[in-house]
Amino acid sequence: MTTRVAVHAEGPSLVEGYGAIAGAESMRVLEGLARRLRGRRIVMVNTTSTGGGVAEILHRLVPLLNELGVETVWEVMPGDPRFYGITKSIHNALHGAPATVSESDWEHFMAVSAHAARQLELDGDLIMIHDPQPVALAAMRRRPGQTWVWRCHIDLSVAAPDVWHAVASHLPRYDSAIFSHHEFVPELPLPAFLVPPSIDPLSDKNRDLSFDEERELLAPFDLPARKPLVVQVSRFDRLKDPVGVIDAFVLSRKWEDSHLVLAGGSADDDPEGAEVLAEATVRAAGRGDISILALPPDAHRTINALQRRAAVVVQKSLREGFALTVSEALWKQRAVIAGAVGGIPLQVIHERTGLLVRSVEGCAYQLARLLRSTELRRRLGRNGKEHVRQQFLLPREARDYMAVFARALG
């Protein structure tokens, strides 16, 4: 059974595609790093080749590194249904959600890891393990001369201590770790680097859409064509404060006419999400100027169209991980109002690339201010796009990984 993922190397050049967007100078730094890494072999390991943010990144990152001349392969750790159930519980517990991982679950976790360790090739100079599922492989397969890096994409700030300690017990076998945000970094016995996540400007969620495409994608929702849209794209989660967004919108309507769209996942598998969706629906009841859209998980182009059609994008979170939806909106030159929490202030520089708020009233005030001034919206949108171009596009994430590799490999 093969564990290696075949990634598409044909098609248009990614170096050229990203170069046209991020700039030739930025791509030259990647080429310089690639020269330092030439002759070395990188192996990426995760547990799925389809679905989820990590697989999405690797489908672009692996061919990009190869095109740059850094030999990179991607292996998927095999498992069984029970293993995936256990790793889902581990994932939830690390996110702070209630979940139990029993002694027998950990035994199964280790047995599957041992089986996978025999199947995977792991024949590189540097092995990059993504997330906790394959974390035990280092102890089983690390060879002398190899460098192992653990890339954690998860917010560990409220992790269940017992589950985190079990995962962390494997980390002394690694040389360094990478986290997305400083708040996610626990105490560790190894160097921890911060590599913020990024958006892919060539993906369906972020690529340019034609006017016709945009109109076609939004047609099913019967949104008013002539009113400015205020949009929040988020899970229905109390920490994203959808009810607070509705309250702020209602306050702002005393001054400016607009239409609010709250778009998020359908919350079928999330009981709290369903509760919050119900609360938001009750709060918006009887109002023709609010649309609540439950979208399927793969509605990337619809989200793209909604963000592009918005006059103002709101992300009024009360607590956040990184909130890449903010970068997505900024990349589309939208004016953004967002809560001053988590990774948001890195993306929204107050009064420069967007507006930070701390209250419902503050959100209402800034909303009315933005709806009144096309010029202010344009200025913030223009600045925001440039900020994202420099800081939050995929080539920057690739550059940071390559720098970690170069540091580790000497």
């Binding site: 607590r319 929490v341 520089i349 107050h350 420069r352 701390r358």
Partner: protein, 254 residues
């Protein structure tokens, strides 16, 4: 004598190869929630952390006519929302000499002037703490060694902003003694370029701003040099261009 085209004079001098850099950022394991904690942090954090939060934002793009905002005044303005203190901190950072001790002293002075009770009250909302960071540098050779000032600026014009930041700002702040690129330009017989680079490095401008000013000066001076020189190729080019212009305008008919 013009600086453009000046060549290395010291036999011992090696060519100067600009380097791009990647700053690998790490948590400094310290955060601040209010102005009182900020004061304590400014007094005690290491120089690299203070440099990262006060100077590294100059790497960010300009926004319209505005330069990038430093992290400290940006946090105080955007998150704590104390506009007066934010303005004073921004001024202290912009006015500091390129020395960690100087910027530290100026920041302490601003924060100490606020009563302790007020400092403690001026706080971030939950989740809005300022996490302090530090960094390691990974160097990336550009493969463009320069032996003359012209070659150096030609190479720099093709480099990304980290290269400019590294050679003009980071090395000015964090290396003891004179800035290496300035010294190299002097040794290469280009004292006026050395002076220009030194002045811009200390200007507090963003990397975008100083890059565009330095390159503009270099290009202007290059044009003047070429026009003034008796370079045969340039003269030939001018003659060809003149003949072509006369032909187009009909003034060169036999």
């Amino acid at each position: 004598m013009t600086d453009a085209g000046a060549v290395l004079t010291g036999a011992a001098r090696a060519p100067f190869e600009p380097e791009a850099v990647v700053y690998l950022v790490q948590p400094a394991r310290r955060n601040v929630a209010d102005l009182d904690q900020l004061l304590d942090a400014v007094r005690t954090v290491d120089g690299a952390t203070l440099f990262l939060h006060t100077q590294m934002p100059r790497l960010r793009p300009d926004t319209g006519d505005d330069g990038p905002v430093d992290d400290l005044s940006g946090w105080v303005r955007g998150v704590v929302q104390d506009v007066t203190t934010a303005e004073r901190l921004a001024f202290a950072i912009a006015a500091a000499r390129p020395e960690i001790d100087d910027v530290r002293a100026r920041l302490v002075e601003v924060l100490e002037s606020i009563p302790q009770k007020t400092r403690a009250e001026q706080a971030a909302p939950e989740g809005g703490r300022l996490e302090l960071l530090r960094f390691e540098v990974v160097r990336v050779p550009t493969g463009m060694p320069a032996t003359t000032a012209d070659e150096l600026f030609e190479a720099l014009s093709r480099c990304d902003r980290t290269t400019w930041f590294h050679h003009l700002i980071e090395e000015a702040w964090l290396l003891p003694g004179p800035i290496p690129v300035v010294e190299w330009l002097k040794a290469a017989g280009a004292p006026r370029y050395a002076e220009l680079v030194e002045r811009e490095a200390a200007s507090g401008r963003s990397v975008d701003g100083l890059r565009s000013r330095i390159l503009q000066r270099w290009r202007r001076s290059g044009i003047a040099t070429r026009l003034a020189s008796g370079d045969r190729n340039a003269r030939d080019s001018r003659e060809v261009a003149g003949r072509l212009a006369r032909r187009i305008s009909g003034g060169d008919r036999p």
